[in-house]
């Protein structure tokens, strides 16, 4: 097993864990946590491919990871703002109870 394969497997495992969290948990915040984990796993792939790829001096994978970190910060801020707003409105963060379009 080469180092790259190891990193890719770890990233796949983290992605699967994040997906499982996002799909199985009730709490909206926990779903967001799962999504953050999935994003991070993708970042790990980018960095690993950058490091072991043929052209590390082009910085493509690294740049993608940096931009994705910035985007993830924006996503977390807006997502959690929405969760707080929903909690104010519906007094719950349980996704199973948020099944009505009408407030």
């Amino acid at each position: 097993m080469t180092p790259l394969t190891g990193y890719l497997l770890v990233a796949a495992l983290l992605f699967a864990i994040g997906l499982a969290g996002a799909l199985t948990r009730r709490n909206a915040i926990l779903v967001l946590i799962g999504i953050e984990l999935m994003l991070n796993a993708a970042n790990l792939n980018f960095i690993a491919f950058w490091r072991y790829g043929p052209h590390p001096e082009a910085l493509t994978g690294m740049m993608f990871a940096i931009f994705s970190i910035a985007v993830a910060a924006a996503e977390a801020a807006v997502g959690l703002g929405l969760v707080i707003q929903i909690h104010r409105h519906a007094h719950t963060t349980d996704l199973d109870q948020m099944n009505r379009m009408k407030g």
Binding site: T5, L14, L23, L30, I33, L37, Y52, P56, I69, I84
Partner: protein
């Protein structure tokens, strides 16, 4: 494949598992920071110093704190009476494990496409912060501007979304 790699990878996977499986939501958030820290260490292990520190600064310093604030503001730390898992948890678990199986199979069976042990660069690529800055201001200047715009709009959007209630209540 060194002991360091296995230790860090184990740490991040354990943190991620705890983050999605623990009962108390605040514990989940704290476990999430362990996973983030493990990932930052993996970045450092991959000689991506700048990305590793940015990961710590943004994820542990900002996202984890945001998550924690959201949990406390929504009383999420109280464990709900009807379980922490959704009614369709089995379906989700099967989907996730299926996706992991496919990904792992793909990774393990495509070693011919990946650079092998002899093809992999052993020396760390000499990338300084200066190079990253030049790349950001040169080749990647348009994405940088777009990210700046996105962050600004996200900032304003998050503030508007979170303070909307006050206006309608009056």
């Amino acid at each position: 494949m060194s002991i360091v790699f296995f230790a860090i990878a184990g740490l991040s996977v354990a943190g991620a598992l705890a983050a999605v499986a623990l009962k108390n939501t605040v514990h989940c958030a704290l476990a999430l920071t362990v996973a983030f820290a493990g990932l930052a260490l993996l970045f450092l292990e991959l000689d991506a110093q700048f990305a590793g520190f940015a990961q710590i600064l943004v994820y542990i310093g900002a996202v984890a704190i945001l998550v924690v604030f959201a949990i406390l503001l929504t009383r999420g730390s109280e464990t709900p009476k009807d379980g922490i898992y959704s009614t369709k948890w089995l379906l989700g678990l099967v989907t996730a494990s299926g996706i992991f199986a496919v990904l792992a199979w793909a990774v393990l069976h495509s070693t011919w496409a990946l650079p092998g042990p002899e093809g992999a660069p052993t020396a760390a690529p000499a990338v300084t912060v200066m190079d990253i800055g030049n790349a950001l201001m040169g080749r990647y200047v348009l994405p940088l501007e777009i990210v700046a715009l996105l962050l600004t709009s996200a900032l304003i959007g998050a503030v508007i979304v979170a303070m909307h209630e006050k206006e309608s209540a009056q």
